[in-house]
Symmetry: C2
């Protein structure tokens, strides 16, 4: 029995592939500090659980294929407050941001089509692109330049006849890089001039530490419908397990094709959509507190990182991730070693090895992504474990 | 901006594409009897809502990528009771049966690969196959033969080097056809002899009216792992809006590839999985009542259909659908007319036009799929409306 060629080019998630080693380490009694996965520890707002509890229909029916009206309306109103005026018909509910990505790639990519993505990038993008028979064309960056990618000349040099889209995450997972207003406009201009899509994953919008406030590409003038926004309640409301996201675009042709997939999979989970709509009633105070909490966490991580000799990392402005180059040979090998051979007072640490965030072979081998999603004291201890681990590993592999 | 070629070959769902006309008809005060969509009206078991209400974690976290352990265990135990012995690692939780289908097609199809499917078939299969760059190769059947397809010679004549799988639904959506024990074994034998997958969508397992009891292909000996089972809680527990299904196979290579997609989309909704696990504790009595109810509904529909001159339909044995050939020119045109030009005491009826259930151009044009998912008295009235509609339509188009 044959397997598809493209699935064999896809990889397991670098955030999840060390799970079996973690299970073994835990079985040996190890405590693991998880900096490998973007699972926030902030409580999900109570309105979510209240909405679920108050659901009173006796039959849990399919929702409408484009989404539950109350959820679409909540998303529409939220964007309007950010100066992005969408019609509810320009929003499709999806099973997390993941399904929105999968659908848009299926809609726009033919075999051999390319998507420009700044690397390092969220590795699952590559899986969705390959599943849709496309290829990732990386926009190179470096740890020394703080992973800055918004350079018109660099990007335009990579656009050719097979390029269908530029895809970015703002604020970025995994680097925490945020775009300036000029850079946002430039990216849309480039997409317009070359008649390609600009796909913006904005799921980390609320996590910014540069004082700029909430921004969305959707507030820019987009007469041709180049822009596609990917969004989700996962990070915004610490509701990752809801799997509720959306696909937003003024591009009627694209949205008509996307609807075919939405109808084919029938609907998104009903209860979770109803509860996600309720999340959008959460008070601004929730976000202000959350942002300050993550800003403190970022500062804790950066402070510790600066004290580890040989680490390269610029302070990022957004999301709850950062990439750092470590003074080690191979982050995959280092991570496995941390789980199998290292402990300090019975504790160890997990992060995501960097090379899977790159399409260019050999890049990112000594880099890691750190998700700062733990309480400050735990983060502090986790970073100390990283420092101790690096020292011990350097000694062990000599 | 370009759209992918294959998305343009996909179609809107025939079950959902008349929705705008239905909305208009309702705005004019029409009552519509919906026989177009497989949305059961049976109450979802209370244990589902109880499980959701009792969920006490403060953070709604991502679930494990392969699925919540309690859900995987519930599915494993359910299959064991049917004589199908799977390890929990041979089961992956999916967002409905739809995602299971999408994942398996992505895993096994290359551009130009073919999947043999008896036609008429569930139209969304074609979308999942086309999205994965494959093609549907129909196994032809006829209304006169009751849509019987399990004919070894007919099937083997269609297998060639690009054939990757045979895909069936048992009991069938849209025809209600069920397979005998000999036919089930024959299909697996054919798949084994030709080294291709046999994908069995068994989501209607509980809906059988032939006295045979619950059957699964999974109970057959499958040493090479040819078999892939698609399942879901949607119909079994009248929980369509939960979007909880699974992908089951002993094929380790296939399951390893499927895991890449499961990790890429991170997880299936947490609350719905926890609640789906609870559904599997439902008493046998629930299913016995449900089966008898649907059997009465089927009988009501068949009794009425037999009285309409020019209708061809054999009594189906399973699921809650049937296909019928009507004495009309074009079921699409007829359906639209029923919504725009017909009413009897302010009421009209919807079904799914047949041609979208066929890959062969021109086939099924005068056929409809009827989902008997309403109470008997409503079904009876809906069938009377169909009879009246046919008469009036025949007159109107002369």
């Amino acid at each position: 029995m044959k397997l598809s060629q493209r699935v064999q080019t896809c990889e397991l998630s670098p955030m999840r592939k060390f799970h079996p080693f973690a299970v073994e380490a835990q079985a040996k009694g190890r405590k693991i500090y998880h900096l490998n996965i973007g699972q926030p520890d902030i409580a999900t707002p109570q309105v979510y659980f209240d909405a679920v509890r108050n659901f009173a229909d006796p039959v849990l029916e399919y929702a409408e294929s484009p989404g539950v009206p109350s959820y679409l309306h909540a998303v529409q109103a939220y964007y309007a407050r950010l100066g992005a005026h969408y019609d509810e018909s320009e929003i499709l509910a999806t099973t997390g941001g993941s399904e929105a990505l999968s659908i848009v790639m299926q809609c726009i990519l033919d075999p051999g089509s390319e998507v420009l993505i700044p690397e390092p990038y969220y590795p699952n993008y590559a899986t969705f692109i390959r599943a849709a028979c496309g290829r990732v064309c990386p926009i190179p960056t470096s740890p020394e330049e703080g992973y800055h990618y918004a350079d018109r000349a660099k990007i335009e040099a990579l656009i050719h006849e097979n390029t269908r889209a530029i895809m970015i995450t703002n604020p970025s997972n995994p680097t925490g890089v945020t775009l300036t207003a000029e850079e946002r406009q430039m990216l849309l201009d480039v997409a317009r001039e070359h008649d390609i899509y600009l796909i913006c994953d904005e799921v980390y919008r609320e996590f910014f530490y540069n004082g700029e406030g909430l921004v969305t590409m959707g507030a820019l003038d987009d007469p041709n419908g180049n822009l596609v926004i990917i969004d989700s309640v996962s990070k915004r409301f610490s509701a990752c397990g809801a799997r509720i996201g959306c696909l937003i675009s003024k591009n009627k042709a694209l949205m008509a094709e996307a609807m075919k997939f939405c109808q084919a999979r029938l609907s998104v989970a009903t209860l979770d959509q109803v509860a996600a709509a309720a999340l959008y009633t959460v008070d601004q105070h929730y976000f202000d507190e959350m942002r300050l909490e993550y800003q403190r966490r970022r500062d804790t991580v950066m402070e510790k990182l600066r004290t580890i000799p040989g680490v390269t990392c610029r302070t990022p402005d957004g999301a709850f991730y950062l990439m750092a180059a470590l003074p080690i040979d191979d982050a995959d090998r280092f991570q496995q070693w941390l789980l199998t051979d290292f402990e300090d007072h019975g504790e160890t640490v997990m992060f995501s090895p960097g090379h899977s965030f790159y399409a260019t072979p050999g890049n990112g081998v000594n880099e890691v992504r750190i998700a700062y999603v733990l309480k400050e004291e735990d983060l502090s201890r986790a970073m100390d474990l990283l420092a101790l681990g690096i020292k011990a590993y350097q000694k062990a592999i000599l």
